[in-house]
């Protein structure tokens, strides 16, 4: 499945190349590199080159105007005592580790309800999928800003029941929650993956379980969950990687400053402020590498942990 397993199987896969194809190897090289040329140029000029450059910049003091000045580990030691940075890490971790499980749980739940050949399934699927297409837009972030504002839709509805709601996005204790809710709202994409995964489970397993008198709950835990675990894992890895980089929603809802009192100051938002607000490019580069390492570490943890709970049928 997918880029992720493809990556791990690269080393295992045996080349299917026949002797003839191998003979043609030399001839293909030229054609291949011509076809790959745009991608190779991009890889070097737009991806790997800038990556190495930003690694270098992370050890310098650089403000775009003067040439970068080597400062060794200075940027990283500054990070250790940067309270706003620590706070932004906390905000980001909360967002990722509350938002992602919640979103996936809702996605799985709705996928389970939708799975059993329900009438009108295409319609429901569209309705649930639409928000995940729109959720990344500035327009929806604007809508969220209104809905969870002091006089917003949520409080108007609460007022109908005589409840005076707080200003959700202007209160530091609820602002992040509103943005997490926006993330949960976009559960449509993982839901569609779950739906596809559910369809891959052979019906005979359920039939056999029914014959043996298994309850619905037993079927869920003993058949659905193990069979679906590779898909859950796949969703988890992708959503965690993606959520660490979340930016637009917090930026728009907070008006670009991560407020109130830094309660929605995502790591990426702080990085943007440092790099493109204060032009502290060295520090921003160092932060970017910290982000890369964090994402790498959590992806690795995910892979290691997966050995204990992901079940592969084949």
């Amino acid at each position: 499945m997918s880029a992720i397993s493809e990556l791990s199987s690269i080393t295992r896969r045996k080349g299917k190349a026949t002797a003839e194809e191998k003979k043609a190897n030399g001839r293909d090289n030229k054609a291949a590199y011509i076809f790959l040329l745009p991608w190779l140029v991009g890889l070097i000029a737009i991806t790997v080159g800038p990556m190495l450059m930003s690694l270098y910049l992370s050890f310098t003091d650089y403000n775009l105007l003067q040439p970068p000045e080597w400062t060794g580990l200075d940027n990283f030691t500054r990070m250790l005592s940067d309270a706003r940075l620590h706070n932004s890490l906390g905000v980001t971790f909360t967002y990722v580790f509350v938002g992602v499980p919640l979103q996936l749980a809702v996605a799985l739940l709705i996928a389970l309800v939708l799975d059993k050949g329900l009438r009108g399934l295409p319609f429901y699927r569209s309705v649930f999928y639409l928000p995940s297409l729109l959720g990344g837009s500035v327009a929806v972030a604007i809508l969220w800003k209104q809905i969870f504002g002091t006089t917003g839709l949520v409080n108007q509805v609460l007022a109908m029941f005589g409840i005076q709601g707080p200003g959700w996005i202007s209160d530091p204790s609820t602002a992040l929650g509103s943005i997490i809710l926006l993330h949960v709202w976009t559960f449509g994409a993982p839901m569609i993956i779950f739906l596809a995964g559910l369809r891959q489970i052979p019906t005979m397993y359920y039939e056999a379980a029914k014959v043996d008198g298994a309850t619905t709950l037993q079927q869920f835990w003993r058949i659905t969950m193990p069979m679906l675990s590779p898909i859950i894992f796949f969703n988890l890895v992708l959503q965690i990687i993606g959520s660490f980089q979340s930016f637009t929603q917090a930026f728009i809802v907070s008006g670009g400053n991560g407020g109130p009192s830094d309660s929605t100051m995502f790591f990426t938002l702080y990085l943007y402020q440092k790099g493109f607000g204060q032009f502290d490019m060295g520090y921003a580069s160092a932060m970017a590498w910290v982000l890369l390492v964090i994402i790498g570490v959590f992806t690795a943890i995910n892979f290691i942990a997966s050995k204990y709970w992901v079940f592969y049928d084949d």
Binding site: S2, A3, L7, A17, N25, D28, N29, A31, P38, W39, G42, L43, A45, I46, T47, P50, M51, S54, L64, I110, G117, L118, Y124, S126, V127, F128, Y129, L130, P131, L134, G136, S137, V138, A139, I142, I147, T151, M160, A189, I192, I193, L195, A196, G197, R199, I201, P202, T203, I241, G242, F244, Q245, T248, I252, G256, F276, S285, M287, A288, L292
Partner: protein
């Protein structure tokens, strides 16, 4: 970025499903058997499910509907009318929103359209070329390069943004559309390369062989055999590129600071920042205008989005 990763699984579907395409219809069979056995219990269950789904779906879509309705209301009602009932159609939000910024809103939509079209062409050409090489050709360091390509799918944009910005600003490309389009021409959205590789792998090799025997070289096989057969993958790429580029905020925020060059997301952001508390109506109106193209693409491209993504897709 987030959206990108959210929708990333496309190839997953395809590869996961490719092995057992026959299972697709099974759930229906399951249901019909159930109806025979205990039809009444089953029917109540189905009814309950519909109830839950309608409730959940309504809750999901309500904010969007409410935004549409509110954009057609006088401004002051936005703060005290949570319902969806419209007494009259108020188009003034649209006319005032359209001309609220330096340029008419259409200007920003044209800017966005230029970036979107450039990005789509870029992705279609560069990604399909790279995908052909990875899927069909044998060459030195293929596995290594393929692995690197997969890794770049997961690479956070932030790691390269600072040097990229320095690079493009030195070429004098800040406040042009080039920094948003050129990376696509160079296949940096590796996700699509992977999607297309997966698709090409599913095209029978006999077709290439036949063309080769007829004397066709790789360019010809690519253009005449593979490309026409991978139209569904190209359609999926087009649709996703459209939506992601149309919604792209971060790139535009960094590279476009001149209001002349604003794309829709940064224009909307400028609108939010400048608005007084009373102009939510026109802000909503322009938000809806900005979502309309995405919604239309969703409506007409659903086949490729959902089916292409979800089921074994694409085939």
């Amino acid at each position: 970025m987030t959206t990108k990763l959210e929708t990333l699984p496309t190839p997953e579907k395809k590869s996961a499903g490719a092995g057992k395409p026959t299972n697709r219809r099974k759930p229906k069979i399951r249901e019909s058997r159930g109806t025979l056995a205990f039809s009444r219990a089953q029917r109540t269950k189905a009814l309950m499910k519909h109830g839950i789904l309608i409730l959940a779906g309504g809750l999901m879509i309500y904010p969007l509907l409410w935004m549409v309705v509110s954009s057609l209301r006088p401004n002051e009602l936005i703060f005290r009318e949570p319902g969806l009932w419209l007494n009259s159609l108020e188009m003034s939000n649209y006319t005032s929103g359209w001309s609220a910024l330096t340029h008419p809103f259409g200007h920003y939509m044209i800017n966005s359209a230029i970036v979107v079209i450039g990005s789509i062409l870029g992705n279609l050409i560069s990604c399909s070329m790279a995908a052909y090489a990875f899927a069909r050709l044998q060459f030195t360091a293929k596995k290594l390069l393929f692995g690197i390509m997969l890794l770049t799918i997961m690479l956070p944009f932030h790691v390269v943004i600072v040097p990229q910005y320095i690079l493009f600003s030195q070429i004098g490309w800040v406040n042009t559309f080039w920094p948003l389009i050129v990376p696509k021409l160079l296949a940096t959205e590796a996700f699509f390369v992977f999607l297309m590789v997966q698709f090409i792998r599913g095209i029978p090799r006999e077709l290439d062989e036949a063309a080769r025997i007829d004397g066709a070289g790789h360019p010809r096989i690519f253009l005449r055999v593979i490309l026409p057969l991978m139209v569904p993958a190209l359609a999926t790429t087009t649709i996703f590129t459209f939506i992601w580029t149309w919604n792209d905020f971060f790139g535009a925020l960094i590279y476009l600071t001149d209001p002349d060059m604003f794309t829709v997301p940064v224009a909307l952001r400028a609108f939010v920042d400048s608005q007084s508390a009373t102009s939510w109506g026109s802000l909503f109106a322009m938000s809806i205008v900005s979502l309309l193209p995405v919604f239309l693409v969703f409506l007409f491209g659903q086949r490729f989005l959902i089916k292409g993504i979800a089921t074994t897709g694409i085939k």
